[in-house]
Amino acid sequence: MSRKSLRLSRGFWWGAALAGGILLLGLLAPWLAPYNPWNVTGQPFEPPSRAHLLGTNDAGQDILSELFYGGRTSLTISLAVAALSMTLALFVGIAAGVSPVADRVLMRIIDAFLSVPALLIFLLVSVHFSLNVPRLIVLLSLLFWPQPARMIRSQILSTRAEKYVEAARGFGATTGYLTFRHFIPALAPVLLAGFLTRLRMAVFIEAGLAFLGVSDPTVKSWGTMLHFASQYLYLGCWANWILPVAAGIFLTVLGYTLIGQALQGRSLRGEA
């Protein structure tokens, strides 16, 4: 048992180091990037050299600098989407968990949301405007809230059934008191797990939409880098262009996944 917990927590620290390290790289992008990634600083498609460690892209911009700035965008979007959608989910989940009337209505809405082909609806809505970063964050959050909302609701329902909550209610505790004193603290593991999952999904979907050419290609992000790079596969530039981006996405999400796994393992053992 002790060996296992050691292993899991090691995973956690690895994950935290990865996610934190990449976050730091994104934050420090302006100081780390050798060039302004919007400026033309070389010929198009330059192979890696001393001047451009990862070469240049189709517009003659430095790929390494793009990688730093792109990571910044991807991380911003994923953090914002995860935070916003979990906040939404929290409100809806609590409302549904506390009031039976709201529960009926909200659960129907959630059911409907979960059964629409979300990606297609997203594509339909996105035709109406330019998908810049703020709009992308709002739209993705609207897409991502229903599942955690449902999880939060069922967690509250099960907390409600706990003996100590019933006892508190017996002593005349108000719903507000119960919510803040008991329901929300009990939600911590669900919220954390939901947050991490949404982080991962947001990184994927941001890059995916850019890859399809749906979101704004003038924004520097890992997704738009892939979008342009995949058009020039035949130039053999995937080694210095696609692989670094792939590694960026992979390591970031790996970090989130490791943290999530470690936390989930701990809560599982806690239950057992």
Binding site: W38, V40, P44, F45, D58, A59, G60, S126, V127, H128, F129, S130, L131, G213, V214, D216, P217, T218, Q231, Y232, L233, Y234, L235
Partner: protein, 504 residues
Amino acid sequence: MKKIVRWGMGAFWLVFLVLSSPAWAKPLNIDRYVIGDRKDWGFPAPYFHYPRGPGYLRMSMVFDTLIWKDAKGFVPMLATSWRYEPKRLTYTFDLNPKARWHDGRPVTAEDVTFTITYMKQHPYPWIDLSHVAGATAVAEHRVVIQLTRPYAPFLEDVAGSMPILPRHIWKGTTPQAIDRKKAGIGCGPFILKAYDAAQGAYAFAANPRYYRGTVMVKSLRFQKVNDPVFALLRKDIQAAVVPPEAGALLRRKGYTVVSSPTYWVLKLLINHRRSPMNELRFRRALLYAIDRKLLVKTVLHGFGTVASLGLLPPQSPWFNPNLPKIACDPAKARELLKAFPRPRPLTLLAPGRFSRAAERIRQDFGRVGIRVTVQTMEETAIDAMIQKGGFDLALSGHGGLGGDPRILNDVIAGDFLLSERFTEDPRLNALLKKNLEAMDPKKRHKIVDEIQLIHARQIPAIPLYYPMMTVAHDGRVPWFYTRGGISKGIPFPFNKDALIRKKP
């Protein structure tokens, strides 16, 4: 006199063609030939294909028109000869009596008159018959087409583009109700064998009884692939339009790589009905601010040319070489902008595929003090906004610049959806009207030159660049570049005449 000149030219082209045709010099016999494409373009029959060049091209393998174009210009197809009578406003076509539909029935003048009536009744997006009054079959193989007014582009737009429909199949039915199996029957060099929408694949078989000669490819296919370059390298396909950047690699691997003009232009549309773009000085400042050479270098990677301010490219026979050539000059732009002390920030609409160009233009404008926000959106959404005039600046392109100069009417002031809608200049309006009616090529040349000059001076839109088209193939078929593009200007080299060994 004019008639004689025209006939003489026709005869000259014919002789020249017969002598110079590479197909004639090197007979081939190919069992199977596959052309790759990134997309599917719909069922290859009139009314059914997607109304874009590649869709028309696939349809043209099965359906013939009255006349056709090769590398030098018009050549006979269903019509062996044609003449125009200016007094009566009629075109007379003599049909090839050997022409047969794929089901064996002869092609007659009745089929031509039927096609015109049918297409007037059921509009086919590719053909505009508003200037055609009707047609009469005066003999089994002679048809007279009556115009309502002189219409210079008739030969290219109608005679050279309108697929002739078999009357016995389309009579009494609508394009919506017709049996699909029969809708694919034409009289062209290829017989439609199968079309698979899910795989985006077309199978055509050589028509053994083709009236104009021997079809040299037994089985011709079009096939959807996700990357034409790799598909070529793997020999999945034998020819495809490829990104110009891949040309060097493919040439190294032994492919024949040909570059040709696209007769397509990317323009910066300017909403000249809004302030401050309504002032010529401001538009000139915009023109001086843009580094179009750098645009060609970084966006097209050099595979293209800076556009002429008169819209028509140098390869067009109607190109005016004496237009002002304006290079990027930020100092001059700043000078002109002094009259506009604090220009409001402008929005630049750009479809995703032009986002690199949009980025460059934003930087160029920023350099002279014009703040621009780039808004990338889905292309059709942008087109709708352009149509309604709801924009400041927009990136938008169109083709068709190689063929008849009627195109200038459509794109400068006409009802084309992405038209510049520039109707402020009365002299330009008068010239555009004359452009359609001038049946004498010399007079018309003068008119078209003048139109280009006014466009270059008034700058209702800034033509940015002409990209190049690169095609790679295995070298077995002598593909050639059609003068002005196939039909009304489709820039692909896949002209069906390259696959036919004509009867001497």
